[in-house]
Subunit: 96 residues, 2 copies
């Protein structure tokens, strides 16, 4: 199991139309083949500057690679990620 | 549900006796009242410098506060966290 997470801050204010549009687009990522346990999360610790996180799991590293190359994912990155994100950090995990 | 995570890098080499001792100590955190779904994770993305993550969940913010004040947790932080950790980032989540 690989858990892929991206914690981030948007350029747009909370509850703005851009924020709503962004999360509508992220929710469609959950339909990409191989994605399991997709979660949209609010980051609530005051010890960092991030507001949200997307978390998803893949059964194998091959499934994760295929997701990265999937057309819908590539289009999402080009259309939304590249222009809506102020800052982010990618963290990927495997159970020890 | 609150998911408390800390991603980190140890001061000591992988598979060193200090690393083994540290993870033995972290595993005992899972017995502290209120802690559910405790996970020890390896951080595998090359896009950041962290090696490991501890993840745990609490049913309520009260349970999370009690964990922070729990004697065994406080002792762990003083004995291990303060001296074994090179760098870390705390990220806490709620489902949207």
């Amino acid at each position: 199991m690989i858990r892929h997470t991206v914690v981030f801050k948007l350029k747009y204010p909370k509850e703005s139309s851009e924020e709503i549009e962004f999360f509508e687009a992220t929710s469609r990522l959950s339909s990409i083949p191989g994605v399991i346990n997709f979660e949209s999360l609010r980051q609530i610790s005051k010890k960092n500057d991030f507001d949200y996180c997307l978390s998803m799991e893949f059964e194998t590293s091959k499934a994760y690679e295929e997701y990265n190359q999937n057309d819908d994912h590539v289009r999402f990155v080009q259309t939304y990620w590249a222009s809506y994100i102020e800052s982010f950090l990618e963290l990927d995990y495997e159970l020890i």
